[in-house]
Symmetry: C2
Subunit: 290 residues, 2 copies
């Protein structure tokens, strides 16, 4: 089962460097050091392989920011910046995957992948919407599409820079910078000086109904587990301590090699609080299977 991961890594490297169509199964097999036949005992087809790559990496990059967003103790704007920072850190860690993803060719080749991409975009947009409303208030609603569109395009462009200049750029500064720029644009809209260019109708392809069938089931299960843990914590008297523990867990999970013992200990602490036991156990099961 470890070889499966080795294949995923080699493949993402090659796809990122040369593109999906320009990389043959033979090349992937050679770069892993196995035969082509073996590849097909781990993945049914080339399409299956790239879908597995997306399933594997997508959540690694995205979940981080989602979890940071659950910590209600940070002021909204800082939380927003922090989420971008964490996202940028994720991008640095999975550079090849991001390269592959940004080439975007692969999408055009398969119905299934296109649906997945569509879903991911919907996810990104609803996350953005949530944050923009939290940070700038309900008043920005008439301008939300403009802001969301600007945000994602600036975000994407910084992503590209980050990938080629990881040495000079710094995720934390970049996150703050991005939020600062969005704030300028938002204020301009709020002053009524600028009028929106985009509307619901034009953007309907970006709003995905989340209850559709699709991939990411496991991802969503984990998200749900985080969400209900933070939810329960909020309802507790001395929530402060428990938020810290939860935050510490999420930080540890973001490490490239999370320390399982530390996680176990932290979960132990959570489970001591009777009210949190069920949620903590559920999340622990998601994060530390076996």
């Amino acid at each position: 089962m470890d070889k499966r991961n080795a294949i995923l890594e080699s493949a993402v490297e090659l796809f990122g460097a040369h593109g999906y169509n320009q990389t043959s199964m033979q090349q992937i097999a050679e770069s892993v050091g196995i035969s082509k036949g073996s590849l097909y005992s781990y993945f049914q087809s080339k399409e299956d392989l790239i879908i597995s790559i997306y399933e594997h990496y997508q959540q690694l990059v995205f979940e981080r920011a989602f979890v940071v967003g659950l910590d209600g103790n940070l002021p909204p704007m800082e939380r927003f910046a922090k989420q971008f920072q964490v996202q940028f850190e994720g991008i640095l860690e999975y550079k090849s995957y991001m390269k592959m993803h940004m080439r975007g060719e692969s999408t055009k080749n398969s119905e299934k992948l296109a649906a997945m991409e569509h879903r991911m975009r919907g996810r990104l947009f609803s996350w953005l919407e949530q944050n923009l409303l939290d940070v700038y208030g309900k008043e920005i609603r008439p301008y939300k599409w403009d802001l969301m569109w600007m945000t994602q395009s600036i975000y994407a462009s910084y992503m590209m820079l980050l990938i080629s200049h990881d040495d000079t750029l710094n995720p934390s500064r970049l996150g703050a910078h991005l939020v600062r720029q969005i704030t300028l644009l938002a204020n301009d809209f709020l002053c009524g000086e600028s009028s929106p260019q985009l509307n619901d109708d034009m953007m309907k392809s970006f709003s995905v109904s989340m209850d559709k069938e699709g991939a990411f089931i496991s991802f969503e299960k984990r998200e749900k587990a985080w969400e209900s843990l933070y939810g329960k914590i909020k309802g507790i008297d001395d929530s402060r301590d428990y938020v810290n523990i939860a935050n510490r867990i999420s930080e540890e999970c973001r490490e490239s090699e999370p320390d399982k013992l530390i996680l176990k200990g932290l979960f132990r602490l959570l489970k001591d609080k009777e009210e949190l036991r069920i949620e903590a156990e559920e999340l622990e099961r998601q994060l530390l299977p076996e």
Copy 2:
């Protein structure tokens, strides 16, 4: 020689819709209504075909904005907005080409195309630099890369929207909107509230030395002709009238079917002014060959 253009048009349509690698020479031949063998008597190879497409369309889209920029009578900011507007109009007119271009797959397949793309990017950036300096003054120099980067990413993202929603979006409004947003960002930098993230060193791959050998020779010849005409006009006493004539010529050229008689007449007017004769003749030769 007309069949060559028919091929270019069919090919750009197919490349735009399905992508370069997903379109076979056979399909192109069928869509033009000729045999595959004939294709190869007009273009040496598939690569030659796509390079010819780039050579053909690139200048059509880009030259417009360049020429608008030469009219020194508009205030800098309005001129900037107008240039974007004209650029957006061009995008609408050559939608298939823009789609193809934005897919970007083709670039990865050929050294020559990659060099071309690199050159185009350099062109775009130096055009942006010129405009930003004109509009916001020398003071923005320390922030120029940040501003250029933001501008091009917002510009590119609007381009994408425009292609899929040409019915609702309007080039003129979009141009003004874009400049407004850039102005906000620029002012923030000028207030010293925000610090730059990008520097010369990181961006060196975007600054192209213009004296390199490459494509676009004909494009540049035409640019030069425009430039020296506007230059000469500026040195004349009653320049106003002649600027108007020159602007009228550039507008007419932007029509999908420029009226050759009108152009001839306008050029006649210019040539009446002895000081402009040589330049007007040169440009007329570039624009109305035969």
